[in-house]
């Protein structure tokens, strides 16, 4: 269905805020991709298109405020525009979860950001859930569990 290769969040300064790999790569290859992609994508102007060809695959990226959402895709299987939509849904989900999400939210609650991503995209890079409502429901369920845990700890 979709075969996303990786998802990277990078700040405007080139700092990596979040990364998730859906294909097996060595540390060296990952570092190379991170280095190359951040430099090429950060140097692109806002009016340029959201699709870049990088080595053997395509990369779709989109900037939201100070964050770049970068997504490597399999060109033959994936539709570039649909991936843009996936990115957008991820941002929307985070937006509703954090309430007007900003870079700091992702830095300090990175585990939540990963959790939301894991809800959306399965470990082999295909879309598991596209509904924002469903994702938020699961997230709030997990939060309830964690909170009750914390409460127990305080009471005990």
């Amino acid at each position: 269905m979709t075969q996303i290769k990786y998802m990277i969040l990078a700040s405007r300064q080139g700092k990596i805020r979040l990364m998730k790999w859906y294909i097996p790569l060595t540390q060296k290859e990952k570092a190379k991709i991170l280095r190359n992609l951040t430099t090429t994508i950060l140097s692109r102007k806002p009016k340029m298109c959201n699709i870049v060809e990088y080595s053997d695959h395509k990369v779709v990226y989109r900037r939201y405020a100070s964050l770049y959402f970068i997504c490597g895709i399999t060109a033959e299987v994936d539709n570039e525009l649909l991936i843009l939509e996936v990115i957008h849904r991820y941002v929307e989900a985070m937006d509703s979860y954090f309430g007007n999400v900003c870079e700091l939210d992702i830095i300090f609650n990175f585990s939540k950001a990963y959790d939301i991503l894991d809800e959306m995209i399965m470990c082999d890079g295909s879309i598991a859930e596209s509904s924002k409502k469903e994702i938020l429901f699961t997230m709030s369920n997990m939060d309830v569990m964690e909170n009750s845990d914390n409460l127990d700890r305080v009471l005990s």
Partner: protein, 966 residues
Amino acid sequence: MVNQNVRIGSSNNSMTGLNFFIADLRNSQESKSEQDKRINSELIKIKTFFDSTNTSLSVKSNNNQGYNLKKNISKLIYIYITSNTSKLDDIKFGLKQFLQLSKSNKYSEKFIGYLIISLLYQYETIREKLMELMKFTIINDLNSSNEHFNSLALTFIGIASNFDPQLLNDDTIIECVFRFIANPRTVNCLKQKTCLAINCMCLNIKKFNLASGELHNILNETNIQHFFNLLNDEGNPSIILTALPVLEYYSKNIDPIKCLRIIPHLTKILLDCLTIRKQRSSSTANPSEFILPNPWLITNIINVLNVLIISNNESIKVTNLDHLNQLNNLNDETLGKLRICVTKAIDLNTRDFKTPFGKLIQNIILFKLIKFAGKLNPSDESIENSITALCSLLVNDGGNTNGNGTNMKYLTLDCLIELTNTSGKIDCLRQKNLYVLFNVLKMERDISIIKKIVELIYICTDASNMKLIVNQLLKYILNANCVADQNLKSDISIKISKMMEKYNQDEDLYMNVSLKLLSGSVSGGGMMNKNNDLIIQRLIQIIVNNEHLQKKFSLILLEYLNKMNSNENIIQLSCFIIGEFADLIEQKISIGDLFNLFTTKYFSVSNVTKAVILTSIIKLYKFDHSIGSVVIKFYQLELNSLDIELQTRSYEYLKMIQICKLSGNYELIETLFSRMPIYKGTKVEPPKELISNEIEMSKYYTDQKLSNTWEDSFKRMLIHKQGVMYQNTRIKIIYRMNVEEYTIGVSISIINQTEGVLNGLSSEIIPFKIRDNPEYVIGNNSGVSRLSLQKNERSNQTFDIIIRKPFDIEESPILRVCCNGMEDIVLKLGIGIVHTILPVREEDVVGFADFIRRWQMLPPEGYYNASETQYSGKLNQLLGAQGQEELVGYLQSVLQGKFGFQMITNNSVSNTVFGIGVVHSKTDGNFSCLIKLMFDMETGNVNLSCKSEHRGTLSKSIVDSVLTVI
């Protein structure tokens, strides 16, 4: 899978023990040792509990025990996760209990059981222990009437197939899975899960390379029909969505012809999808709201259709896909409907959707369908229209300020490339819209888009507009402001060279453009660009080979050189050429002046170029000895150079001049620096990188699927010069070979053995390589003499194989015979370098002593330039021989009779056979090669070694062939 967390949530509340454990661990988060302590004590507790259940396993299985088991295993899961899997070894003791839990009758218990097993299934040691037992559980659950159990098992199969190739071959499990699809009463959710599980399995078949596995067999039969049935469920797009990837896999990898039936059906779904409906409930405030078409469904349907439908143009390109050619018989109605779909997609784009998502969907559908339109064998006119429309999109969107505009541009170009590739109709683009492309190119700053435009322009090139395109592109890259990116620049320049290589007849233009390319490119200090090197090489080739160009271009290059700050590439090229042909332009400029010119350039260039200039100077000296004193001074200066290359060169040249001067005889320099010889070959091959490569021949070669019995005929052909190559109930192929030095003439006859008539006979001989200096060439191929054969009639064919140099026996040519109503016969011909072996001539007959002497002269295996290959191993066939003499006789007869080695008799060593022969090849010449075969009667071990004068793979291929035969 998504719901897992929710379910844990509901089952979690009841397990207080687990809650306490987790809370304890969380409280001791600060200290790792305390945590470890807690975990260890818990592990001991769990262990004792498990032990107690072990002893009283079957006696009582009440509710409470199941609950306790679940609780404890949940704890183990938590330990496994919280320790980042490092505690794996500590939780392995409970495998039996995991299985027990997964057999439980309660959903929540079963769920935990499956959860821990699928977590641990990735480890091979655990998998080995669980696999067999787990199978029963899975089959039980698949057969259960409880649909929740079914879906747990399906999910597990999906996950486990990632790690376990055996699961993909297990027919009982696969059958059970398929039953869900076959059963019409299965609930929708389960159907979806089944599709996803099967899809997972299909993907993993590729991963494990199990193309002939059980899953394929089962898919092959009636089962695919059930997937077709799933498409009927139109009210439920999510089922269709899950079934589509399986269908795509099936038609791509198993049998496209069976899937042809569903094309009309898919078309109908697609059409329905694209038909825009108004919002059903009239209560919504905005009546003009439309239901958006489902982009996922549409893209997936088109993906399947893309595999199934092949346009006329493609079928010309890929002629080897014979079976797919039938796909062209789309009936008119379906074709019409598909065309309507395309128009609908275009219509859809005219509507004004308010939301950004709506706009996105519009574009997704539009581009997907237009790309697809190329496959529908459209009329020239419609293609022309769509190309024009797309081109106008390119122009109009230039003014658009938001980011989407550029995306549109990119996708439009992508679309155009695809469209021209699939439909093969470039004329319209070429004639009318080229200027549009150039205009966009000039305005554009975005590298992604520029790359696409250049690619498109490259596609549009042909002999007629080549000049124009080359000029435009040249202008573009020479204008430094336009392109900042160096990679892109060299990309474009290599494309220009390719175009000229492909279409150009005019040498002048070629030279001028290449010079401009060279002068335009930037060369950093000493860093030579690889592309520029290629261009320089090619230019030198052309100039040296064409006498009429030599003077002309020496003069042109002189002009370039005279410019103040000429480019380093140019300096390199001109120094070389002028040094070579200085005598031709002597009346224009004297040798002395040339020397001065070179020396002024010398100090401003990098070391590589300096070395070239040094050599050019000695060539100048060759033409005019009167500049001797300055030349000597110059070289003396360079003797102190830090660069070793420059130092050596100047030292050597200085010595040469001294020797010549002392003896007064300039012959040494004259010979050493005589005019460059013309590049060999009738037609000069450009460097490999400059050829645009359309077909990968060797890939086609390796893609051939050989018939089952090919090895028999392969062996037979290695030994016998004539005989039966292939035989089945319907057809028989016999062959005969004539070897004449390095040419092997082969004639084959195909005989019809059936009672009826064989129609549509054709054959093909596929060499390993056709370019890049192939090892052998196939010539004089007569083709089959008859296209249809009556009973017992035969069709003859002859061809020559000219062996140019030694090659690996693995790469020998493939024969493919096709005939109507019969599977293709694909055989690897057992023709190799060994066929050219002839005994040495009468007068050269060697004795044993001579053989040993020769053997020792050649370097042994492992050394530099070694040409020996050894093989030692066991050959059981030899054990059957009666006695040593018989065996020697047998081996000698094989080596002499079948291969043509000259045998050498000796009396000292009885268990070894020695032979010598001469191998012939056209390009590389003839080599003698020596062979020694030692055997041990008792054990059947042999030691075969071969040495040859050829520094390559010759000895290896001889050893291989001999082994194949014995």
